[in-house]
Assembly symmetry: C3
Homo-oligomer: 357 residues x 3
């Protein structure tokens, strides 16, 4: 069964195809109004995220389908049944599942056990591929291309999963240059620099000043800086304002620069920026819904094909256990401690993809 | 974009039109079964209210539309995104929004930022206009008129927003006489008496005894008295039973008196009263659904018209900030502290409508 | 108005009819796709149970109907309105109600007050009849009959409402033999043995070892053993593993034995058992949805018939009050303390059915 766990599960040509469908849906919504008639999506949100959940639900409704909705405080998941059992049960009720879960790897566990396609709507700090789909369509529509872009990434580059995912997706294109704008405490992890950016022959620079970086950017991807991420609260207080995008700072940017943000924002972009034509973060929301529609259509179509489950061959059972406390392996009943070797020769947990020594 | 924030946003002739539609819907539901096909309502309840939420959702389903549902404990709204951002985002997903929020003025903020019509389903203690729509249709159906009615209002007249809203709506009709039945601590605020009742040339009397008032009433509107409202708990204990409607007390009322209650009740009306033909509070529920259907139809129809946004001219930016701790101004990111002058010459916060000195 | 509160509300021939419909639905889903067009089910879950709620909702969607969904933490029910009022209100919004509530008897209170059919989706430890419907269809499909089966019931037989309900339903068939497998602390209550099993002329044996019982079983019904049920935590630790079904233990069972579990499981069945053809607990999920579809159809159809409310005659108002702290009588506003005499001559509370001395 084809699922979407990581943005890299989709080839560049599949991404193109999804974006074409999304644009076609926006132009001719009437053609798709009954495309999923009689189908149901289950939105299993073990961690509340109204925005993402409603995006999936609106997507399904606009395709003529129905919605089984679950939104739970994450505290109650501890005592509940396993993700695997939930996936098996919900397969009796829904034709496709979108799952958000606080544990890394939970969506993959669901996909391995469901009899229907599974979409990862966020598994802890690990992946959130449909946000990246929204980002990519917005870039294509605003910039007209993916190649030869200077892409500024600003804010929390250490923990921001949307940033990592976007870097991964853009690293497959030619001539991308990343400008990494963050305080030292929140700089991009080494392995993303070496295993993703450099391995793909792309370049990056690191700066700590948003003003300095702005003039050269084709694209600015803003993210939130959270107080909790800093060891020293004074350091946070000293730094936070420098990463807030205001009209003054934006005046330094090119006329055709395009500002993205995965939302929700707290205050890292001033409301006064919203009316600037370069502010594209609300367009991202619309694009996110369209891409989710295209994705649901694609996965439901592939689900009708006979299956080849060859991919399981890549996993090794090695006896070493992943120790990541946020990995689904630590809570799921009888989940095997599978490992895989990545291209770079690193051994990683199959579920959360953290490196195993 | 036309929204409904306050019952007074609707003219008497618009109210008539809504009530006519509501009755027509009840008579010929089949005519309306596909009226909103392909449309979606988002019910954004930042404070749970199952009854009101389900009324909107049932209304939309009976019009052939779909529902994006959100119900959150109010505690979690503190850390979330701004109401303005939520309204912009949900505008990508839904064709109309019903919002309940603990902060006064939140629905207006949503309406100013949404690209779709917004219905106020309760903004703190401020307004709850669709409850008043339910009340009005019930009065019209039970009494056959709005003019020359003696209307008893019983319970918490100080904080009860449904009472204030009903007084506002009825004050536009001729010959209404209000009988205000409450303990002294919970009597109707001065400004409602002067600015609303007297300004419209209507009269009122104040009594503390429900038995005394009952014989002369055409209509009795009951509300709940909450222990928390009393500074002195003993005073509450001493008083509470006198405002409970029992069959014995109801026997003092006219044969054609009509008892309303916005529900939920706790114990202020005895269950033994439910079977009395004068008890109309469950009819109110049905009428509320019908009025919400009529309202959704009206607002979606008006949303198709080209817009004239002239009304913004009424606002003054004066530099004085509203200090009401329950006002949305205190929590919303970069919300301007707008003021307006009301007919009585009082300067009020645009958002929560509390008076500014 | 016909409702389903207890599995025994359905006669054996009605059960047969429901099972026939369920199988027909699975074979020809297209015939039922618009059976409930324009109808709504309200799923009122005053206690979260995602699995059961989604089963009802999926059932309604597959019949072409719509869903009004409520899922609340049980803590918030204390301060809310009465179950009776909720039932009256929701009758304005929905055509049928599925209710789960922590208080025993709550579903019956809802049924007595609603103007639409009510399905008990679990009322505290009292009844959960649609789980039994799932169990029965699974037994019929897997074993081909209900008569002359040796039925093992394993785990918490003292508090397990699904076990009591299944025993009640199976006790109406000939030649059933129950094998009760539990620790002494959690053995089947005396009144079930005498009033249900023996009164129907059936036999049972009690054993404490799962291994010992397994070879003779046609059917094994597993349930969860909860630590909280034991007075002595060491006793729990000593016993818990003996009631976990593993592949080793299952190897002692017949080839045609059939393993059921109401789910969710925690760890009382090893994941390694899931692929065994005798593991039928995920089939139960599918069967549960089908039976709920059949039930919704049946109750909506009966709701169209004129009513005969003769059954109320059986209740006696005796002045004795039920003292069960989990009974809805303790919290519901002005609920009469009704009693009834059961066939065995025992006087029971009408609401929670606990014995009154």
């Amino acid at each position: 069964m084809r699922s979407l766990i990581d943005i890299l599960d989709l080839s560049p040509s599949e991404l193109d195809e999804l974006m074409d469908t999304a644009v076609e849906i926006e132009r001719h919504p009437e053609k798709f109004r009954a495309a999923c008639a009689g189908k149901k999506i289950a939105t299993l949100f073990f961690e509340p995220s109204t925005r993402t959940r409603m995006s999936f639900e609106a997507a399904m409704f606009e395709l003529g389908g129905n919605v089984l909705s679950m939104s739970e405080a994450s505290s109650s998941t501890a005592k509940g049944e396993s993700v695997a059992d939930t996936a098996k049960v919900i397969s009796c009720y829904a034709d496709i599942i979108a799952i958000r879960h606080p544990k890394e790897g939970a969506a993959l566990v669901a996909a391995k056990n469901a009899r229907v396609p599974v979409i990862n709507a966020g598994d802890g700090g690990h992946c959130h591929p449909t946000q990246t789909l929204a980002d990519l369509l917005t870039i294509r529509r605003e910039k007209g291309r993916f190649e030869f872009l200077t892409v500024g990434l600003c804010g929390d580059l250490k923990y921001g999963r949307t940033v990592h995912s976007l870097i991964g997706a853009l690293s497959r294109f030619e001539g991308i240059r990343f400008v990494l704008i963050s305080p030292g405490e929140l700089s991009l992890p080494e392995y993303v620099k070496t295993e993703v950016i450099e391995k793909n022959g792309l370049s990056f620079s690191e700066v700590s000043s948003l003003e300095e970086a702005l003039p050269e950017l084709d694209l600015l991807y803003m993210t939130r800086i959270q107080r909790e991420r800093f060891e020293d609260p004074e350091e946070y207080e000293r730094l936070k304002d420098s990463y807030i995008l205001t009209p003054e700072k934006l005046s330094l940017a090119r006329e055709d620069c395009c500002v993205l943000h995965p939302l929700p924002r707290v205050n890292e972009i001033s409301v006064a920026v919203d009316d600037d034509p370069r502010a594209c973060y609300f367009k991202q929301v619309q694009n996110g819904k369209l891409m989710r529609m295209a994705l649901i259509l694609k996965l439901l179509k592939e689900a009708e094909k006979p299956e080849s489950e060859a991919s399981r061959g890549e996993f090794l059972l090695e006896g070493k256990r992943c120790r990541n406390p946020r990995c689904i392996l630590q809570t799921e009943q009888e989940l095997p401690a599978l490992l895989k070797k990545t291209a770079g020769g690193v051994c990683r947990c199959v579920w959360c993809e953290s490196a195993i020594e």
